[in-house]
Amino acid sequence: MPRRIDVGRARVSRSTAARAALLVVFALLVLPAAGNARPGTIGGAMATNCQLQVFSWWTGGGEAAGLTKLIGIWNKNNPSCKFKNETVAGGAGTNAKAVLAQRLAANKPPDSFQGHAGAELRDYIKAKQVEPIDFIYKKYGFTKIMPKGLISQITYNGHLYSVPVNIHRANILWYNPKVLKKAKINAAPATWTQFVAALKKAKAAGVIPLALGEQWTQQHLLETVMISTLGPARWTALWTKNGNWSNKGVTLALNRFKTLLSYTNSDAASLTWQDAGKLVADGKAAFNVMGDWQDGYFSGTKAGGNLALKPKVDYGWTAVPGSSGVYDWLSDSFTLPKSAPHRAAAVKWLGFLGGKRAQDTFNPVKGSIPARQDANAKLYGPYLKWALKQWRTDRLAGSLTHGVVAPNAWATDFGTALGLFLQTKDVGKFQSALKTAHDKFT
């Protein structure tokens, strides 16, 4: 048996080398263990024991920038309870939601977490993981300053569970004026017929008529088509017990969606929403349907990873054809988890978020409008000024893709049915799958 081994270039007796290694190993074992053996609190070495732990998925772009500003204001006003930013990235919060679900299940909630206002929070409400915050609305007067339609759509069983920080609009048609000119499209389409005609002209001109991205953006497109076809009242009714998914209106909407798909780019599933928007910005596509965060991407600074385009010159917008006067809304909001470790600070945070200063600081940067109706319009760019005006008069239709009208499980089933439709293009099967999902959840 060989008694010597090579350790690098030195020849050492095998057993000596092995024993030395083992001793080093045991020594190394002790040190890290000693280092890690602290009592199990997060950040235990800090002097203050108050930290506002806020959980979100705002890790990039305007949202992260807006959040940073809010953190600055909070920390200045609350030096004894500094903000602890806990974020998890990954596609519109899917990783974050999973991690949050696990934390709540393990009874280690943050002080506040982000969620879309509306049905998306129902899972947490039903599992008794969030507190009703009617008292916060009362204390800070939110009920008076936020639109009644909004408040009623986020009330569940008579109670409110989150403070909306912003309002986004989903049913916007973005377009490139130069491309429209080249394709001899005289005006942005306002009706379905005009829309199809414009798409045909774009195709003839050799550009992608309608730029589309991965599956969730396709669901987003579908919801705007359904809202345009059905109108806000019938749309909202679909999500209630009496909702009729088998009627001809839904069939028409699904068929229109199918028509639109034939005017989109074949590699849609590999594109993010920004990639799709960029196709329009670069003149490779004529139209794109996306929420108004697209404006933030189009007009934001290059340093922030945006395109720094000029509104109305390099890009234009209008309501999705057929939905003018309807606001397909969604809202980022924050909650009060049960057993929040620093409840007083959490309550203060929510009061702060619903206040004018926070909303007028956050929203211009984020690219959305405040939920409050007393926004200082001067702070907002051209698109947002337009949106603020519309918000005052439009009828409300809650978004599906962004958690207003349907709880997560239903939205997931919808998405699964959509995924299958995208492969088979069978409207009949799609419609009956949607009806099945409705019956399952109401």
Binding site: N265, A269, G415
Partner: protein, 295 residues
């Protein structure tokens, strides 16, 4: 039968591991199976018996059969690809070449890169944009005048999941190569010489002397690759997200548990994956143990 004083200490030494595995593997598998048979279908925990309801739902779920097809496509391409390439590389190297160390390091190091990082770059490479928007490998094909090879990669309806297997093959062929290389070099040279003395051509030497020795390597490589394939999650999500077009059971399980909060159905998928794996590896394990006993 040796007495207990001989083998007792051995059992004692292994017992902490036995306990840990019993709790953290089998205990949790048991929890998982129990959940799959319960009525915990929403965010509110519930543990009433529901029989095979979740399994029935899964069976009726068209997305589930999509997932299974995707997994099969991915697994077959991944395993066959990694085995073939690993074997080829080992074959090229086994007789010794100049710069063997360099080549070995090159082939081995994709293993060092995490699937998330690999996903980031392969997503670029496998960009399915057509025509003048093409980029990634498609544009390379065009430049090399083999433009007909340009395709939709992971979005292709028929071969999409096979394309998805490419980063996985890239990451693990080196490991398979290392296994086969060790296998090749484990064949005693006397055996090869003897065959050559008998007048066998080099090819026949390989076929009748060397390759049979490689069977156990193939078997264990198959097991390791198979289990990686079934569990792979990071890579799929990094490239295709959670869309149905690239979905596999591991991804669907995530969606069910964390998005839809349908815990029983998600647990049912986990249980089915385990059952599927067991069907493969239990025979393998029995074969292993038996053949060792034979020796």
């Amino acid at each position: 039968m040796r007495n207990i004083r001989r083998w007792g200490p051995g059992l004692l030494l292994v017992s902490p591991s036995i306990v840990l595995v019993a709790v953290f593997v089998y205990g949790l598998i048991g929890w998982n199976v129990r959940v799959s048979l319960s009525d915990w279908r929403t965010a509110v925990q519930s543990s009433k018996w529901a029989g095979f309801a979740a399994y029935r739902d899964l069976n009726a779920d068209l997305a589930w059969s999509e997932n299974v097809h995707h997994l099969l496509g991915f697994t077959v391409t991944f395993i066959v690809g990694a085995l073939l390439i690993g074997l080829t590389l080992a074959f090229l190297l086994e007789k010794g070449v100049r710069g063997e160390g360099f080549f070995r390091s090159v082939y081995l190091f994709p293993m060092a890169i995490s699937f998330i990082a690999a996903g980031v770059v392969w997503r670029w490479l496998m960009n399915p944009a057509p025509g003048d928007r093409s980029t990634g490998l498609n544009v390379v094909f065009e430049k090399l005048h083999v433009g007909f090879l340009a395709n939709q990669w992971y979005l292709g309806l028929d071969w999409g999941m096979s394309a998805m297997a490419m980063p996985a093959i890239w990451a693990l062929s080196g490991y398979v190569m290392a296994l086969y290389l060790a296998g090749f070099r484990g064949v005693p040279e006397e055996l090869r010489e003897a065959a050559r003395m008998d007048g066998a051509s080099e090819w026949r030497v390989y076929r009748h002397v060397v390759f049979p020795h490689l069977r156990p390597v193939t078997l264990s490589a198959l097991i390791i690759l198979g289990h990686i394939s079934i569990k792979v999650f990071d890579l799929i999500v990094a490239i295709g997200g959670k869309q149905l077009v690239t979905q596999t059971p591991a991804v669907y399980m995530w969606i069910l548990i964390y998005d839809a909060r349908d815990y029983a159905k998600g647990a049912a998928i986990a249980t089915l994956l385990l059952v599927g794996i067991s069907l493969l590896i239990i025979p393998y394990l029995i074969y292993t143990v038996r053949s060792e006993q034979r020796v």
